[in-house]
C-alpha cells in the first residue's frame, strides 16, 4: 500500500506529463479528467450553440427546461438514451454497429496529446501533431462505414461526400501545419519539433505567436488551417455530408437514439480537437496573452486573477438575469435554479482565486478560452453562411487552399533560411 502511495506521489514533483513520466496511475486520472472535461464541453456547446444561434436569428432558443433552457442538453441526452435504437433490416449490422464507436474513438483519442499546459497533457509524443492529424483522419472511416452500412442512398452519398472532402482538405491542412513546424526550427540548435508541447514552447522562446510570425505568412497559414478545419469537421458552410436540405441528415440518416448521440458527441469532440490544434500551433496554446511583453511577477499576478474574475462575471450575469426573471409563482423554481447556478459559478470563481489552484488552473483556462473562441466562430459561421456545393468545395480545396499552402510553405522556408543567414538571395 505504501509503495502504491509512493508511486502516486512520486509523480507530483515531476515537471513532465504523466505519459512521459510513465506513471500509469496519473495517466488514468488525466484521461478521466480530460474526457470528463470534453464531455462537459460538449454539453455546454450543445446549449451555447442553440442559444447563440437563436439570438443571432432573433429567437429565444430553449427556454422551457430549466432557467433559460440550461437543462435542455440533459433533457435531450435523456431522450436520446431512452429512444428506440433502430438498425435497418437491410443494413450491414456489424459495421452499422461499429461505425459510431469508430468516430468517437477517433475524435477522443486525439486529446491524448493536446497540451492544456506545460505538464497538463496526458502525454507528450515527439510526433504529437502527426499523431493528431493521423488519428483525426480516422474518423472519416467511421463516417464511410456508417454511410455504407445503412444501405440507403442518402447516407451513401453523404459518406462519399465527406470522405472526398476530408481527404482533400487534409492535404491543404498538412501544408499549413508543416509551415508551423518549420517555424519551430528557428532556434539555436536548428531543429524543429512535432511535439505539441514543444511547439508552444517554441512560441514562448521566439517571443511571438506563430500567427504573427513572418507577417503575413503565419496569418495566411492560419487562415488555410482555419478553413480546412471547418471542412474537416463537416460543419457549416462545408456541412455537405449532413446537408439536411439535400441529404436529409447525410451519413447518419438511419441512426437514432444512443448511436446517433455518439455521432453528435464525436462531431463536437472533433470540433474541439481541431480548435485545439489551431490554438496550439498558432495562438500560443496555454500561454497567457503577452507572456514576454508584459512579463514580471506583477503581471503574472494580475493575469492569474482573470480566470476567477471571468467566472465571477458569469455569476454576476446569472444574478442579473435572476433579478430580471418574472415574479410570477410559476417561475419560482426556475428563478431559484438560476440563482443556484449563479452561486455555483461564483463558488467556482472564488475557488479559482485560491493561490495554488490559481497557479494550477490558469494554463488550462487560457487554453480553453482560446478554444472557446473557435467554437464561437463555428457557431457564427453556421448562422451566417449558405452551404457550398460539392464541386465548389473541391475546387476551393485543391485549387485555392493547396497552392496557397504550398506557396506559404516555400516562402516560410525561404524567409527562415534568410533569417538564419543560411541563404543570401
Amino acid at each position: 500500500m505504501r509503495e502504491f502511495i509512493q508511486y502516486i506521489t512520486s509523480y507530483l514533483g515531476s515537471n513532465q506529463t504523466p505519459g512521459t513520466a510513465g506513471n500509469i496511475f496519473w495517466v488514468v486520472v488525466y484521461v478521466l479528467l480530460v474526457f470528463t472535461g470534453i464531455s462537459l464541453g460538449v454539453i455546454a456547446m450543445n446549449w451555447l450553440e442553440r442559444k447563440i444561434l437563436a439570438h443571432m436569428q432573433v429567437r429565444l432558443g430553449p427556454m422551457r427546461v430549466g432557467p433559460h433552457g440550461l437543462l435542455q442538453p440533459f433533457a435531450d441526452a435523456l431522450k436520446l438514451l431512452l429512444k428506440e435504437d433502430l438498425i435497418p433490416a437491410e443494413a450491414d449490422s456489424v459495421i452499422f454497429w461499429c461505425a459510431p464507436f469508430m468516430v468517437v474513438l477517433a475524435a477522443f483519442t486525439v486529446f491524448v496529446v493536446v497540451p492544456f499546459g506545460p505538464t497538463h497533457a496526458i502525454t507528450d509524443m515527439n510526433i504529437g501533431i502527426l499523431f493528431m492529424l493521423g488519428v483525426s483522419s480516422l474518423s472519416v472511416l467511421g463516417i464511410v462505414m456508417a454511410g455504407w452500412a445503412s444501405n440507403s442512398h442518402y447516407p451513401l452519398i453523404g459518406a462519399l461526400r465527406s470522405s472526398a472532402q476530408m481527404v482533400s482538405y487534409e492535404v491543404a491542412m498538412g501544408m499549413a501545419v508543416v509551415s508551423v513546424i518549420l517555424m519551430t526550427s528557428l532556434n539555436a540548435v536548428g531543429t524543429g519539433t512535432l511535439s505539441m508541447i514543444g511547439i508552444v514552447q517554441a512560441q514562448l522562446a521566439q517571443h511571438e505567436w506563430f500567427i504573427f510570425k513572418f507577417f503575413p505568412l503565419g496569418l495566411i497559414a492560419f487562415f488555410i488551417f482555419a478553413v480546412a478545419m471547418v471542412a474537416e469537421t463537416n460543419r457549416a458552410p462545408f456541412d455537405l455530408a449532413e446537408a439536411e436540405s439535400e441529404l436529409t441528415a447525410g451519413f447518419h440518416t438511419e441512426y437514432s437514439g444512443f448511436r446517433w448521440s455518439l455521432f453528435f458527441l464525436a462531431e463536437y469532440g472533433a470540433m474541439m480537437a481541431a480548435s485545439s490544434i489551431a490554438v496550439t500551433l498558432w495562438l500560443g496554446g496555454w500561454l497567457r496573452p503577452f507572456p514576454n511583453m508584459l512579463a514580471g511577477a506583477g503581471w503574472d499576478q494580475l493575469f492569474s486573477f482573470i480566470p476567477g474574475a471571468s467566472f465571477l462575471f458569469l455569476a454576476g450575469l446569472c444574478f442579473y438575469s435572476t433579478a430580471r426573471m418574472p415574479k410570477h409563482p410559476y417561475f419560482r423554481i426556475q428563478t431559484i435554479g438560476l440563482a443556484g447556478f449563479g452561486a455555483l459559478l461564483g463558488l467556482v470563481g472564488l475557488i479559482l482565486f485560491i493561490p495554488p489552484v490559481r497557479a494550477w488552473v490558469q494554463d488550462i483556462f487560457w487554453f480553453s478560452a482560446k478554444v472557446a473562441g473557435f467554437m464561437y466562430l463555428y457557431i457564427w459561421y453556421r448562422g451566417t453562411f449558405p452551404r457550398y456545393r460539392f464541386d465548389q468545395l473541391m475546387k476551393m480545396g485543391w485549387k485555392v487552399l493547396l497552392p496557397m499552402g504550398l506557396g506559404i510553405l516555400i516562402l516560410t522556408a525561404g524567409v527562415a533560411l534568410y533569417q538564419q543567414n543560411l541563404w543570401h538571395p
Partner: protein
C-alpha cells in the same frame, strides 16, 4: 422558335454513358423530404452527383378543388381557392372574384379595388418573404428564414385584424369586399411599409453579395426566355430570363393601371437573377401599396350583386399576376347557381414543368436550389 429544337435535349431515354461503369443511381427525393417544399416527389437519376434526368411525381396533395367547384355555388366556392396557394391566399381570392365578376359583368367599386390591391401586394410581399426564407434555408443559410418570418408576421397581423384569418383569409367577395377596413388600417399599413423598407436591405445584406450565395446561385438552373415560353413558365422565373411580361402591366386588372411601378427583369435566367427580380418586386410592391394608400377613395365597397348568383351561360377566362406567376381561372357557366366547370391554371404547376430542363447536367445540390427558386406550393400544384 421551335419547341422541338429547344427541348430536344430533354430526352429521358439516352443518358450519358456513366464513367467507369459506376452504377447509375436512382434516388427518390420525397414525398417526405425537407427540401421539396411539401409533398413533391422527384425521381432523380444520378451519375455520382450529376443529374442525368429527373421526373416529378405529383398528386400527393390532390383534394379535387376543381371538382368541388362544380358542386358549390359561386359564393360557396370562394373560400376553397384560398387553399390552393395557401401562402398567397389573397391573390387566389382576387383572381376568382374578378373572374366571376367578369362573368356577371359587374365591377367592384373603386374603394374596394384599392383595398384589394393593397392586400394583394401585401400578400405578394408575404409570399416572396416565405420564398426567400425557405430558398435560403435550402441553400444552407438558416438565418434569413427567421428574419423573413419575423417580418411576415406583421403582414399576417394586418390580415388578422382585417378579416380574422391569417393564412386562408377569404378577404374578398364577388363584387367587392365584405368588410370595411378597420379603424387605423391605413396607419398600420403605412407603419408596416416604413418598418419593412430597411428590412429588405437587411435581407440583401445577408445574401446579395455573399460569395457563397453568389457561387451557389449564379449560373444555376438557367432557362432561356424561349424555353420559358415553350413550357408556359410565367412570373418571376420568366422575367428573370429577360422577358418583360407582367399581367399587371400587360393586361391591367383591378386598378393597377392607376399606379406607377416598374417590372424588374433579369438577363441570365439563373437562380441569382430570379432572386434579384423577387427582391426588386418586393420593393415595387411597397411602392404600389404607398400609391394605393395615398389614392384610397371613399365610397361603397360592394357592387350591386344579386344574392343568388345566376350568371348567364357562357365561359370566361381571367388571369392575374399572382406572386408565383400567371394565375388563371376558366369558368364555364350553364346559367345555374353552380359553375359547370372550373379550371384553374396555377402558376406553380406550370412552372414545375421546367424543373427537369433546369436541372439537367447540374448537381444534386442544384436541384434543391432550383426547386426553391421555382417557388412552388404543392397545394397549388396538386389542387
Amino acid at each position: 422558335m421551335t419547341n422541338q429544337n429547344t427541348l430536344s435535349h430533354v430526352d429521358l431515354e439516352t443518358p450519358e454513358k456513366p464513367f467507369l461503369d459506376a452504377n447509375e443511381l436512382v434516388i427518390n427525393m420525397g414525398p417526405q423530404h425537407p427540401a421539396t417544399h411539401g409533398v413533391l416527389r422527384v425521381i432523380l437519376r444520378l451519375d455520382g452527383e450529376k443529374v442525368l434526368g429527373l421526373e416529378c411525381v405529383i398528386g400527393y396533395l390532390h383534394r379535387g378543388v376543381e371538382k368541388i367547384g362544380e358542386h358549390r355555388t359561386y359564393t360557396m366556392f370562394n373560400p376553397y381557392v384560398d387553399r390552393m396557394d395557401y401562402v398567397a391566399a389573397v391573390s387566389n381570392g382576387l383572381g376568382y372574384c374578378e373572374t366571376v365578376e367578369k362573368l356577371l359583368n359587374v365591377e367592384a367599386p373603386p374603394r374596394a379595388q384599392h383595398v384589394r390591391v393593397i392586400l394583394t401586394e401585401l400578400n405578394r410581399i408575404a409570399s416572396h418573404q416565405l420564398w426567400l426564407g425557405t430558398h435560403a434555408l435550402d441553400i444552407g443559410a438558416i438565418t434569413p428564414l427567421f428574419y423573413t418570418f419575423r417580418d411576415r408576421e406583421e403582414i399576417l397581423k394586418i390580415y388578422e385584424k382585417y378579416c380574422g384569418a391569417r393564412l386562408t383569409t377569404h378577404a374578398f367577395r364577388i363584387g367587392g369586399l365584405q368588410y370595411e377596413t378597420y379603424a387605423g388600417f391605413e396607419k398600420e399599413v403605412k407603419n408596416f411599409l416604413n418598418f419593412f423598407r430597411p428590412k429588405i436591405d437587411e435581407y440583401e445584406e445577408l445574401l446579395t453579395t455573399n460569395r457563397i450565395w453568389l457561387e451557389r446561385t449564379k449560373g444555376v438552373g438557367k432557362i432561356s426566355a424561349q424555353d420559358c415560353i415553350a413550357l408556359g413558365v410565367t412570373g418571376p422565373v420568366l422575367r428573370a430570363s429577360g422577358m418583360k411580361w407582367d399581367l399587371r402591366k400587360a393586361q391591367p386588372y383591378a386598378c393597377y393601371k392607376n399606379f406607377d411601378f416598374e417590372i424588374p427583369i433579369g438577363q441570365n435566367g439563373d437562380t441569382y437573377d430570379r432572386y434579384l427580380v423577387r427582391m426588386v418586386e418586393m420593393r415595387q410592391s411597397v411602392r404600389i401599396i404607398e400609391q394605393a394608400l395615398g389614392a384610397l377613395p371613399e365610397g361603397p365597397i360592394m357592387a350591386k350583386v344579386p344574392k343568388v348568383m345566376k350568371p348567364p351561360a357562357g365561359e370566361v377566362y381571367h388571369s392575374i399576376e399572382a406572386p408565383k406567376g400567371e394565375l388563371g381561372y376558366f369558368i364555364v357557366s350553364d346559367g345555374s347557381t353552380q359553375p359547370y366547370r372550373v379550371r384553374v391554371r396555377p402558376p406553380s404547376f406550370v412552372n414545375l414543368q421546367a424543373l427537369d430542363l433546369m436541372c439537367r447536367g447540374q448537381l444534386v445540390a442544384d436541384v434543391i436550389a432550383v426547386i426553391g427558386t421555382l417557388d412552388i406550393v404543392l397545394g397549388e400544384v396538386d389542387r
